[in-house]
């Protein structure tokens, strides 16, 4: 359904898109080639392709000394726990907003949405003290709860929108068949609304994987830190070793990129759908 019929126009557009793509990819390419250089090699010429010997040792050091795999594990634990809770609480609450009519439902929904506008930094100090008194600082659970509170409003918004489009007849039919509350959720809502669940998992995994502020403040213990927090500490040191740092940053980008590459359709669909609303 292109509106530009002539090939010349199409070619122009294609080339322009290529140029844009290059500008997006160049910084990453820059990081990649320089992660394989030695420190003096990098400073001599940051543009050149890496010369032999390629410094895979940077990546090796990331794994053995920087313990990047352990950091991956920590981040992954937090993501998994948070996503589980997000889905659990999100599905149940969204089902209520979408299908179970109850008094005050609009007001409550609005109240939940409003919390979206509260930046994490505003509540961080009191939350830290609260968590400190509850013994949740420097634990995975503290970060999980903080993320849960941060993301649940958006998740509820997303899922409510999806669940609203589930035809009531299917639900009524299942209830006639004897489905109670949990069965309806298990057999009707989740299967039919699974796009929302997938989207939540994929999108928020990436967001949490990349996040800095909350885990930086709440989880300082060396062997429990998340990837980005550790890397932020690394790049903050004043005697940098850029190739080493680039190696770490590249490695840390891989899991999120992998998830994206595999599941991109869901994300893009979700984004475009959200816009039309």
């Amino acid at each position: 359904m292109s509106r530009i019929r002539d090939t010349a126009g199409k070619l122009v557009i294609f080339l322009v898109q290529c140029a844009i793509a290059l500008s997006f990819l160049y910084p990453l390419y820059f990081m990649a080639i320089n992660s394989l250089k030695s420190r003096p090699g990098y400073y001599t010429n940051p543009f050149a392709l890496p010369r032999a010997p390629l410094q895979f040792v940077n990546f090796g050091a990331m794994v053995s000394q920087f313990k990047i795999l352990m950091l991956f594990r920590n981040t992954f634990i937090i993501c998994a726990a948070t996503l589980t809770l997000l889905i659990l609480l999100g599905v149940v609450a969204s089902y209520a907003f979408a299908k179970l009519r109850f008094r005050w439902s609009q007001a409550v929904y609005l109240a939940i949405v409003i919390t979206l506008f509260i930046p994490a930094q505003v509540t961080m100090i009191p939350m830290y003290v609260l968590f400190a008194r509850a013994g949740l600082v420097d634990t995975y659970w503290g970060v999980v709860l903080a993320y849960l509170a941060q993301f649940i409003p958006e998740v509820v918004m997303l899922m409510t929108a999806y669940f609203r489009s589930i035809p009531n007849e299917i639900i009524e039919a299942s209830e006639i068949d004897g489905c109670g509350y949990w069965q309806v959720i298990r057999h009707v809502i989740v299967p039919t609304g699974r796009a929302a669940v997938f989207l939540t998992i994929i999108f928020y995994f990436i967001v949490m994987w990349n996040d800095l502020f909350i885990p930086m403040v709440l989880l300082r213990k060396m062997d429990m830190r998340t990837v980005m927090v550790a890397l932020a500490g690394l790049i903050a040191r004043y005697t940098g070793d850029p190739p080493y740092q680039f190696a770490g940053l590249l490695l840390s980008a891989i899991p999120a990129l992998l998830v994206y590459v595999v599941f991109q359709q869901y994300i893009i669909k979700g984004l475009t759908a959200g816009a039309i609303k």
């Binding site: 359904m1 292109s2 530009i4 126009g9 199409k10 557009i13 898109q17 844009i20 793509a21 997006f24 990819l25 910084p27 990453l28 820059f30 940051p46 609480l89 149940v92 609450a93 089902y95 209520a96 179970l100 109850f102 939940i112 919390t115 506008f117 509260i118 930046p119 994490a120 930094q121 505003v122 509540t123 961080m124 100090i125 009191p126 939350m127 003290v129 609260l130 509170a149 649940i152 509820v156 994987w209 990349n210 996040d211 800095l212 502020f213 403040v217 980005m228 890397l231 903050a236 980008a253 990129l257 994206y260 994300i267 893009i268 984004l271 475009t272 759908a273 959200g274 816009a275 039309i276």
Partner: protein
């Protein structure tokens, strides 16, 4: 539950009510405890000179007065508002890219996926990358020097204007893909017939796009702009942290970054940090109200 309730079975409606309330209860509890209650505490502490430990004497509005009278606070506000520039730039470029993609020229799906990649990469990485690229002996200066664009290399991150410029550039680079995809979604909802009609009327490509599509994208625009504006006030922390640390001095420090500094880096008066937090919240709410009024005005006009 009283024995009476047990004896008469609850009506369907009452059943639903109870289920619904219990369903949303966990979410409400979590939000009350972790989002709502801390705001109350922050507001309360902002009226004290709390030092993070055990000193916490009531000082009334002293923190607010000092902030609003001092120069630093207004510098922070200025920074936030200057960085808001990233929104119109993003919107404009995002629209252009969306329109190009919308033409569905060969490979468009691939390009669309590609353009979103900066969103998949952590802001920590992006910030550090741009800091390296724009450093004194970094690639940008080298290339500009070779092309003869600059007589002497610029210290991009050392000067307020250029540092803020680099940050804006970084923000646009990072969010452009998202903006384009959102707009594409909106564009795909516009029937082709509308564009056909414009073409028949003799409108050129760009005129068609901007004068025809933009008004129809009003709702999408509103959504994208609203999110971007709020994000400029709340989501820049990792960028600032890795690009400039708010420096030099306080030149690129934003309100939310200052809260971090005042509470976790040099926490002498956390009451003051809380005061900044409260003011930040007020600013965000005010902006949101302004936006909603503006968009309802626009909607009335376009109908």
């Amino acid at each position: 539950m009283s024995r009476n309730a047990l004896r008469t079975p609850p009506t369907r409606r009452q059943l639903r009510q109870r289920q619904a309330i219990l369903s949303v209860l966990p979410v409400i509890v979590v939000l009350l405890a972790i989002r709502a209650y801390p705001i109350v505490t922050a507001a309360a502490k902002s009226l004290t000179n709390w030092n993070g430990l055990f000193t916490s004497d009531f000082v009334g509005l002293a923190n607010y007065v000092r902030l609003l009278k001092g120069a630093v606070f207004w510098k922070l506000v200025r920074n936030n508002f200057v960085l808001l520039l990233n929104v119109p730039i993003q919107v404009f470029l995002g629209l252009v890219v969306a329109v190009l993609l919308h033409e569905r020229v060969w490979g468009w799906r691939f390009f669309r996926s590609l353009y979103y990649i900066p969103q998949i990469i952590s802001a920590v990485i992006i910030g550090y990358l741009f800091r390296t690229l724009f450093s004194m002996d970094g690639p940008v200066n080298i290339v500009a020097g070779r092309l003869g664009l600059m007589p002497i290399p610029l210290e991009w991150l050392g000067d307020t204007a250029t540092a803020l410029g680099v940050i804006v550039f970084c923000l646009v680079w990072s969010s452009l893909g998202w903006m384009a995809i959102v707009f594409m979604g909106g564009l795909s909802a516009i029937p082709d017939s509308v564009f056909e009609a414009a073409r028949i009327d003799g409108a050129g490509f760009w005129r068609r796009t901007f004068q025809v599509a933009v008004p129809m994208l009003a709702r999408v625009l509103e959504y994208a702009v609203m999110l971007s504006v709020v994000w400029t006030f709340t989501g820049l922390f990792p960028f600032i942290f890795s690009l400039t640390r708010g420096g030099p001095g306080y030149e690129t420090t934003t309100l939310d970054y200052m809260i971090y500094i005042k509470s976790f880096v040099s926490g002498v008066n956390l009451g003051e940090a809380c005061a900044i937090a409260v003011l930040l919240l007020v600013i965000i709410l005010a902006l949101t109200v302004v936006e909603m009024k503006a968009t309802s005005a626009v909607e009335d006009w376009s109908e």
